[in-house]
Amino acid sequence: MKSDSTLALQVSNLTKRFDEVIAVDDISFQVNKGELFGFLGPNGAGKTTTINMLTGLARLDAGKIYIGGIDCTRNPKAAQHLTGVVPDESNLYPELSGFDNLCFCAALYGINKIERQTRARELLETFSLTEAADRKFAGYSKGMKRKLTFAAGIIHQPPILFLDEPTTGIDVASARQVRQIIASLHRKGTTIFLTTHYIEEAERLCERIAFIVNGKIVQIDRTSDLLQPVKGKHVIILSVSNSGDGLTIEMASAFPQYQFQIPTPDQIRIESTEPVNVGPLVRFLEERNIQVTEARRHVPSLEDVFVQVTGIEAGLMHREKEKAGGGGNQ
């Protein structure tokens, strides 16, 4: 792979092993300057390990990394002046106040005292943390910690920003605010590499997305192109008393124009390229003593594509989202 200074990030054949486990398995991708690139996958897929290798916090076992045209394979420090990182955990100094934490992080990039104080005040304002500026970081709420960690990652105004699960575990309002700031940074030309397991977040924010599962990239494309296969599809979800065995086969033979799936025993998913006529379906089920309690239209999204491509049930990602307790979806 040749270095290309027009690209923000070039990665080829990146591999990382932890003993017998291959955490990242021969992945390659490029990120254009000014692009918002999403790295989407379940927990343990290799997202954080990839970011750690890209930012110099982990050694790579194989592969090449160029950041802004600079070869970082041998010397991860070479491009650190170009990058900012918002890690998946809030890792500022509990003993320092919010303001002092930001000033300290700016100083690490050689920013002079007046400039770093100005920027710290501006960022505290942007993240609605001005009132908490003089409070110790240890006393911040989880959402405030995430926001200050985000601010610390951008205080030196890096042209390339790595965001590792930026909205995980924070309240709805904070998550919305963080997403607005991500969009604003993107509009101003910052290249953003975003890892997330919130499918809706990736769909809403990213221009291109890579699906990563078990350390491998299984699909990489523009978000609009990824959504192409599900565009124009009509999906109806029926909530039923009990679907029973063999129902899909029976329904498929009675309604060959539709495709049927039973994701859970109390739900039937009907897919079609044409609008679905619900009346005959409800009658068909009621004749078999299956009560239909609700019929609702489902707009196909990136989640459907993700499930199709990766084979990972959507429920798993939802459970992870719930476990993280975050406002990623709102």
Partner: protein, 245 residues
């Protein structure tokens, strides 16, 4: 200039967050005082002989002052991942680790001043070769700090760092000639004294304060300097191998 801003900020942050906390300041004063008093009473010497104890008390103040906090704070920062923030900054690992250790070195040197100031009130110190004492104190501060650094980058938990620290520190109190002359130790353990870095600093202090030393000052300075370099390089190697894994 940019590296200097980063270096000084790390130093100032560590001083404010760790070393200038009231419990640590009081530790820095009370601990040397307690040691001085304890050995002075145990020795049965008169006030005029306090200089005989000074090299040992100065060294032990530096050793405990430097290693106690550094080994804990570094391991703590590693555990809560705030150390990652430093690793992400565009400064070399060498400069970063020097910045992280400079606070401990200064704290150790300041600790050494406590018994010296006390001794100044008790006895005549005009015969002391300060041109040897000052660099010896600085070198003992550096070598003790780098020993603490080496211990903390070898440990993954705070309690491990504390245990390792004590594993090194307490034998040093008896083997480095702090309070018992090395030549009075049994032959079968005497060799241990010579593989401990502090031994050479203590030898300089004994020579400069009481005129009794077992090696030439030049050799002492060369060996303790070499220990500083080796411990620092080993620590860097461990950071690269273990913390950037």
């Amino acid at each position: 200039m940019k590296s200097w801003i980063a270096f000084s900020s790390i130093f100032v942050k560590d001083m404010r967050a760790y070393y200038l906390k009231p419990p640590n300041i009081s530790w820095g004063i009370i601990f040397p005082l307690a040691w001085t008093g304890m050995f002075f009473i145990r020795s049965g010497l008169g006030v005029e002989n306090v200089l005989q104890l000074l090299p040992g008390v100065v060294t032990i103040s530096i050793l405990f002052g430097t290693t106690s906090l550094l080994s804990v704070t570094l391991t703590f920062e590693r555990r809560n991942r705030s150390f990652d923030r430093l690793l992400l900054a565009p400064i070399s690992l060498e400069l970063l680790m020097l910045a992280k250790t400079s606070g401990a070195i200064l704290f150790g040197i300041v600790n050494a001043l406590v018994p010296i100031v006390i001794a100044a009130f008790l006895t005549d110190m005009s015969g002391i070769a300060w041109s040897l004492v000052v660099p010896a104190i600085i070198l003992i501060g550096i070598v003790s700090t780098f020993l603490g650094l080496f211990i903390s980058v070898s440990a993954s938990e705070v309690f491990e760092a504390q245990t390792f620290s004590n594993f090194f520190r307490f034998p040093m109190m008896f083997l480095c000639g702090l309070f018992f002359p090395i030549l009075s130790l049994p032959m079968f353990i005497r060799w241990l004294s010579f593989i401990l870095p502090v031994t050479y600093g203590v030898d300089i202090l004994h020579g400069a304060i009481n005129g009794e030393h077992i090696m030439s000052f030049t050799l002492d300075f060369i060996i303790i300097g070499a220990f500083c370099v080796v411990l620092f390089l080993l620590s860097l190697r461990n950071v690269k191998r273990k913390w950037i894994a």
